[in-house]
């Protein structure tokens, strides 16, 4: 560590004002604060500056994502193995071999996502003379984790560029965006290249090119099966909770996502109100659907909605994005509750969009400022009344 510090201090003068590399000072700044806790203090007035800066809190989220990523990698290997059998795949079916197979498939996605996204971030930071923002550390991880494994890499790169430029930089960069950038990328792909983002083939590696599979294997996700009212072929609830089912890279395992949620909650990085109210909203709406129950999807036990598809992943990692969620405490309850309700509503009543979570969160991102506005207004009204009395 001392060695690193010395190297940094040695080159630092070049990047300061007047130095020959001062143009790139934001790049240097980015690396320095990435490696060491910054020693900056505020210039005037009294401020409390937390040592947990943006970089550290973002990094916590990345750590929280790792269980889901690791399980996702294993599951990619597993689904591929289940679909094509040992002869075709050359895998022996052991956990290690499946995991290694999966991680080799996921790594290029991560590399492309980080390469393109951070490239654009560094570039815009130089142009605008901003500091490099670390918001992309999480986004870059989230984007590949919410995509089907066989998505072509150039599409991924394009979606990342779209999300970072149109979703974030035009609004002023990290912290100013209205929509969650990771979901913007996903929505872009979903509407641009639907044949790679939905259907029964895309969720298992190799199925698109070669749909001949072992008898009895279906690459359909549980949501697609439920939307087709094919309840009898749904995987069991325990499979859905463990996560050994077809799906996008990291959404399948409720347990792995739960570990991540625990990390976020213990460190205080993720907001429990949003997570809790979103789950409550989804469950309540599921119960309401059970009351109406005009078709097989509606009759599904309400808790199924929580463990199917991307509900948990959305609740833990997407809805809780501190930038795009509601900022007021009451607002967070309303925001989460409405996401949960809308998710189930879109899933059950609109079979064209099986992935209701993405659309529900994006919609509520748009409404979050409005919710905050009315919460603040209500607070003001209450105080005025109290003052008058």
């Amino acid at each position: 560590m001392n060695f690193l510090r010395k190297q940094l201090d040695r080159v630092k003068p070049h990047f300061e004002k007047g130095g020959k590399l001062s143009r790139f000072h934001s790049v240097f700044d980015g690396f320095e604060t990435f490696l060491f806790v910054p020693d900056k203090v505020t210039q005037r007035g009294s401020h409390i500056r937390d040592h947990i800066d943006l970089k550290r809190s973002m990094f916590t989220v990345v750590v929280a994502l790792i269980p889901a990523l690791l399980f996702g990698a294993y599951n990619i290997g597993l689904q591929h193995y289940l679909a094509f059998g040992p002869e075709e795949t050359g895998l022996d079916g052991s956990v290690t071999s499946l995991f290694i197979f999966g991680i080799i498939k996921v790594l290029p996605m991560l590399v492309v996502s980080y390469g393109v996204g951070l490239g654009i971030e560094f570039f815009t930071a130089q142009i605008r003379g901003h500091e490099i923002n670390e918001g992309y550390l999480v986004t870059g991880m989230l984007i590949p984790l919410t995509l089907p494994i066989d998505i072509p890499l150039w599409m991924l790169g394009l979606a990342v560029a779209f999300a970072v430029i149109i979703g974030k930089e035009v609004f002023g960069g990290t912290g100013m965006n209205i929509l969650n950038p990771a979901l913007t990328a996903r929505a872009f792909l979903f509407f641009s290249y639907p044949s790679w983002m939905s259907g029964d083939l895309v969720y298992v590696h190799g199925l698109v090119d070669n749909p001949d599979v072992v008898d009895g294997f279906s690459g359909a996700t549980s949501l697609a099966l439920a939307a087709a009212h094919d309840i009898s072929s749904l995987p069991s609830a325990s499979d859905m909770i463990i996560g050994t089912i077809p799906g996008v890279v990291a959404e399948t395992s409720v347990i792995a996502i739960g570990i991540g949620a625990l990390i976020l909650l213990v460190t205080g990085v993720g907001n429990w109100k949003i997570m809790f109210s979103m789950i409550a909203g989804g469950y309540l709406m599921g119960l309401l659907m059970n009351l109406l129950a005009v078709n097989a999807f509606m009759e599904l036990p309400a808790y199924y909605h929580l463990i199917m598809g991307g509900f948990m992943f959305g609740a833990v990692f997407m809805a809780t994005d501190p930038v795009t969620a509601a900022q007021t405490e009451t607002g967070k309850w309303i925001y989460g509750l409405l996401i949960g309700i809308l998710t189930v509503l879109i899933r059950v009543l609109n079979p064209a969009f099986p992935g209701g979570v993405m659309l529900a969160i994006l919609l509520m991102n748009v409404f979050a400022p409005l919710i905050d506005h009315y919460v603040v207004e209500a607070g003001i009204k209450r105080r005025v009344k109290r003052a008058a009395a």
């Binding site: 072509p152 150039w154 599409m155 149109i166 035009v170 872009f188 509407f191 641009s192 290249y193 639907p194 044949s195 790679w196």
Partner: protein, 217 residues
């Protein structure tokens, strides 16, 4: 006032009436008018061009007509008079398209008729033709319509090329062989939101080249 009356037909000032709406005072990218039709008809290049030309005709003629009768029309009923002029012109254009370009007219469907409600036309009649002579009004009308049409054509070009892989229904992308190496058309370009985003990008490019357009706030 006298100086203006003796202006030659193609004086610098008159030419500016024609050119400014193409850039610095473009109705779509600067005044943000007429967005609605810009989103609706620009899925393909051909209807974009046809609509652009229709608007040029409607706007040029209505501006001249309004300017000719500007001193006879009582101020109270001027809006209704303008509407009659625009509506007659639009009906003419609509009938013309139905007779000579039936396919395109079907693609444009209601949007030819909706030229009547295009706020750029009404805006120019009110703001310019009512207070200026016919020749200047013609230049202003044609200039503004061309500025509107220019954006329509740019948006239509990108949406057809990236969304359908064609230009004037000619398979451009297929000719380049991009499909065989895995390229695919972007389905979102066909949806209205991408038209809005494309217009947004044009506005962005224009403002980064001409800083004086950026509002202070």
């Amino acid at each position: 006032m006298n100086g203006r009356e003796s202006d030659p037909l193609f004086s610098v000032k008159n030419m500016r009436l024609l050119k400014e709406p193409l850039g610095r005072s473009n109705p779509i990218t600067v005044q943000v008018l007429g967005i609605c039709s810009a989103l609706a008809v620009t899925v393909k290049l051909e209807p974009s061009i046809v609509l652009a030309l229709s608007v040029v005709v409607v706007m040029g003629v209505s501006n001249v007509l309004t300017s000719l009768i500007r001193n006879m029309v009582p101020g109270r009923i001027r809006i209704i008079v303008q509407l009659v002029i625009i509506a007659s012109m639009v009906t003419l254009v609509d009938q013309f398209l139905k007779a000579f370009a039936y396919d395109v007219s079907r693609q444009l469907s209601v949007f030819v008729g909706l030229i009547i409600t295009n706020c750029i036309i009404m805006g120019r009649l009110e703001a310019f033709a009512l207070a200026n002579k016919p020749w200047e009004s013609l230049l202003d009308g044609v200039g503004n319509a061309a500025g509107y049409g220019l954006i329509l054509v740019i948006v239509g070009f990108f949406r057809e090329l990236l969304g359908s892989g064609t230009l004037f229904d000619y398979p451009v992308i297929e000719m380049t062989g991009l499909y065989s190496i895995g390229y695919e058309n972007n389905g979102m370009m066909i949806l209205p939101p991408m038209a809005l985003i494309t217009v947004g990008i044009i506005i962005w490019v224009q403002r980064s080249r001409d800083k004086s357009l950026i509002e202070e706030n």
